[in-house]
């Protein structure tokens, strides 16, 4: 599903936010990405959705080389990936409902169907009563859950979540992780960047850990282990 071949990324000359990153994530896997603040987790996720292009190396996502696909194909790539951004990235002039269903609307899905889907996912994150609120009228944790709802509304083949429980209480956080597991069980590949050591330990999934831009540790693919 995702392959990194010797990927380097830098924002300033000779300072690498990521260096020599190589790993493979198979379809259907559930992976935690961890590492201290500033290690390069968000940068790695940005490369997957081609928000950024790596300075060196190749990245394959769902069979496509994301650093070389034409610009016109980027939207389709991104629509196949659900992303929970670390800073939520909700559109402030749109309500929760509109934020969650915006992409569905551009795809021409009618209002009724959009309502149904939004209702479903908002219920999953416990926000059905905030459907017509604007993001700035929500608490931090509520905004985060809207971001989760938006990421899963289009049944993505790949789900990227950047610190998706940083603003949630432990119970809500566990709910969200259970939700991710459920989605994962239906076939979606899930990659969660997080600092939450307890959660990582509890869930017993493959862990990729970064330190200062280098791949520090990879607990190995469970799927591959099962296959061999």
């Amino acid at each position: 599903m995702i392959r990194f071949y010797h990927v380097y990324q830098s924002y300033q000359k000779d300072v690498f936010a990521l260096s020599d990153i190589s790993f493979t994530i198979n379809p259907g896997e559930f992976i935690f990405l961890t590492g201290p603040s500033g290690a390069g987790k968000t940068t790695l996720l940005k490369l997957i959705i081609r928000e950024e292009v790596p300075k060196k190396g190749q990245i394959l996502v769902n069979g496509q080389n994301v650093s070389s696909i034409p610009v016109s194909k980027i939207p389709r790539l991104r629509r196949s990936i659900g992303v929970v951004f670390q800073d939520f990235k909700l559109i402030r002039s749109k309500t929760v409902f509109e934020n969650v269903t915006f992409v569905l609307k551009t795809l021409g899905i009618d209002l009724k169907e959009r309502r149904r889907r939004a209702h479903n996912v908002l219920k999953m994150v416990g926000l059905q009563h905030k459907t017509h609120f604007y993001p700035l009228e929500l608490s931090g944790g509520e905004q985060q859950r809207v971001a989760v709802a938006r990421a899963i509304v289009n049944d993505p083949v790949l789900l990227l979540a950047d610190e998706p429980t940083g603003n949630l209480d432990p119970d809500r956080a566990a709910d969200i992780m259970a939700l991710f597991e459920k989605i994962n069980r239906k076939g979606t590949t899930v990659l969660v960047a997080t600092h939450d050591r307890d959660m990582i330990q509890r869930m017993r999934k493959r862990v990729i850990s970064l330190t200062a831009g280098r791949l520090d540790h990879d607990s190995g693919s469970q799927v591959q282990v099962e296959e061999s």
Partner: protein, 302 residues
């Protein structure tokens, strides 16, 4: 396609309404730009009317020989009657001509007082159509030469030259100013749209990140631009109309202008439609420009 149009329109209308404070600002600016354009057209139109009015007052005089035959006179009269350029004409007998001279050139009273004989010739006073060019005068003069019984064909070249210069100057000022006004209207509209869109670049970045395709991001902005341009132009034309009413009231209340028989004319319907279309078109151009300039690229904050 229909779905795309529906999407763009609904998003545009929603956004116009939700950020109405902001949009009123840009709409107001567009309105004033179009107001200036419209006022400019209005003033230009009326100055031109004035110039044409004056030009119309230029006489073209055909002085007749004292011994002209009735037939010859009738022939000339017939020619004038069917000429394309002639608006109206009157015949002035020898006596009328003398009376007219006395009246008009009071300073030369002495000159005519002492005359026993009436030296003033009979004449046709011809008024040509509005907007006649110097060229026409010359042509008419040449054609009339072939008629019998004409002493001389005369028109006031000096006045004509003056008026021509005046018209030329007004026209030049008009072009000079008009180009500026049109150019800066478009520029203003496009800039203002850029500014309003600029406040939403974050939104646009988010839309891109969640996978909305180019067309669906641009569509609503373009519709919004066109709507703003169109509405702004409408408001501008409305202001020009109010100005027109005010000027009209001022003129009828001011005796010195009644004498001049000046009555302002509002922009003809076609021009109004043209202004509205220009507004919409500038909006379209403006939004296309701004989209090209910053919606495509991530513009950083600093």
């Amino acid at each position: 396609m229909l779905q795309f149009l529906y999407f763009s329109l609904s998003e545009a209308v929603t956004s116009l309404w939700r950020t109405r404070i902001l949009n009123l600002l840009s709409l107001g600016t567009i309105m004033f730009a179009m107001f200036i354009l419209g006022s400019f057209m209005f003033v230009g139109l009326n100055l031109q009317n004035l110039a044409l009015d004056w030009q119309k007052q230029i006489q073209f005089n055909i002085f007749l020989n004292d011994d002209i035959s009735e037939e010859a006179r009738a022939e000339i009269q017939a020619y004038l009657g069917k000429s394309f350029f002639v608006d109206s004409f009157t015949f002035l007998s020898k006596d009328q001509a003398r009376a007219r001279f006395d009246e008009k050139f009071a300073a030369y009273e002495k000159v005519t007082e002492n005359l026993e004989d009436n030296p003033f010739p009979a004449s046709f006073e011809v008024f040509l159509l509005r907007g006649t060019k110097q060229q026409t005068y010359t042509t008419l003069k040449d054609e009339l030469k072939s008629f019998a019984g004409i002493e001389e064909v005369y028109y006031d070249e000096e006045v004509f030259r003056r008026l021509g210069m005046f018209a030329g100057f007004i026209q030049m000022a008009g072009w000079f100013f008009g180009v500026i006004v049109i150019f800066s209207s478009i520029f203003t509209i496009s800039n203002v749209l850029k500014l309003t869109f600029f406040t939403r670049r974050e939104e646009v970045d988010i839309m891109k990140l969640v996978g909305a395709s180019r067309a669906y991001i641009r569509g609503p902005f373009i519709v919004e631009g066109v709507l703003q341009g169109f509405l702004g132009a409408g408001a501008g034309v409305f202001l020009v109309y109010s100005g027109y009413l005010m000027v009209g009231r001022f003129l009828t209340g001011n005796t010195s202008f009644i004498l001049g028989n000046l009555e302002p004319e509002f922009l003809p319907m076609q021009w109004v439609v043209l202004i509205l279309l220009a507004g919409g078109f500038s909006g379209l151009l403006g939004s296309l420009f701004s989209l090209h300039q910053f919606l495509e690229e991530h513009i950083s904050y600093h």
